[in-house]
Symmetry: C2
Subunit: 124 residues, 2 copies
DNA sequence: TTTATTATTGCAACATAATCGCATTAATAA
DNA sequence: TTATTAATGCGATTATGTTGCAATAATAAA
């Protein structure tokens, strides 16, 4: 399925890159200029994830957040880093801090999801 | 509000301790001997969390998992450790591996939630 | 032991996040 | 300019988790 360029996709990607932080679907719908349907936003975000353009973070509020991560290389395998969710300004940002771990024998990792929750610099 | 001992609470706690892994509400409802209402299970689990008897993990499937953690001391401040979610057997277990990180200045952490997802020893 | 207090439970309704089917629209290739 | 099919909007649906309320039952008090 070949991707097509649309105003919706451009607007979402532009917003994510301008914010520099991870955003949830509802935050995107609220803060974006144009009117985009909820399902469409999810579909666009999921396709971005499939293409490795943005990455998905699930916070301990159970919600998905999407980041056009500046720290991450786009096409290279991303190094695993911590994310910080601020409960005050409701944003999630990628930290430079990398996640290091070693696994017991026989365990195979596919995904890493590390969230620190609290108050960020701007809000404390 | 003083806690009371009930068959429901005992059954849930017993199941969690026997499993030794974190379980979601639906897994508990499915695997427990007696018939317990969904809302009740959530209420029991939440009260356990409030009392520090079990701890809550939110995986990257967005669901809450609850563990009567053997590695954690019960009353002491828990050290942050990684959790491993196996997509095959649908369980989450506490790893001994501790989470280490340092934060940028001005950031304050309240919660730590680190999930590794993949295939566990038994399933690989 | 009996009674009173109130924590606990079940049920139904509700809230929110996320997905899906389907018809329509529009981006791109021919 | 036309044909193809990806993208979109809409409504319905699924899933997770919570809440209000009346009924039940665990525990304290008499």
């Amino acid at each position: 399925m070949k991707r097509r360029s649309t105003p919706t996709k451009e607007a979402v990607l532009d917003l994510l890159s301008r914010r520099g932080k991870a955003m949830s679907q509802d935050a995107i719908e609220r803060e974006i200029d144009i009117d985009i349907n909820r399902a469409t936003i999810y579909r666009v975000l999921n396709s971005f994830c499939d293409d490795g353009i943005v990455h998905r973070i699930v916070a301990e509020d159970g919600k998905q957040y999407f980041a056009f991560c500046i720290n991450c290389g786009e096409n290279q395998v991303p190094t695993h880093h911590f994310h910080f969710r601020c409960t005050t300004c409701k944003t999630i940002e990628c930290l430079k801090e990398e996640v290091h771990f070693s696994l017991p024998i026989g365990y195979q990792v596919e995904k890493v999801n590390c969230i620190l929750t609290g108050t960020c610099e701007d809000c404390s």
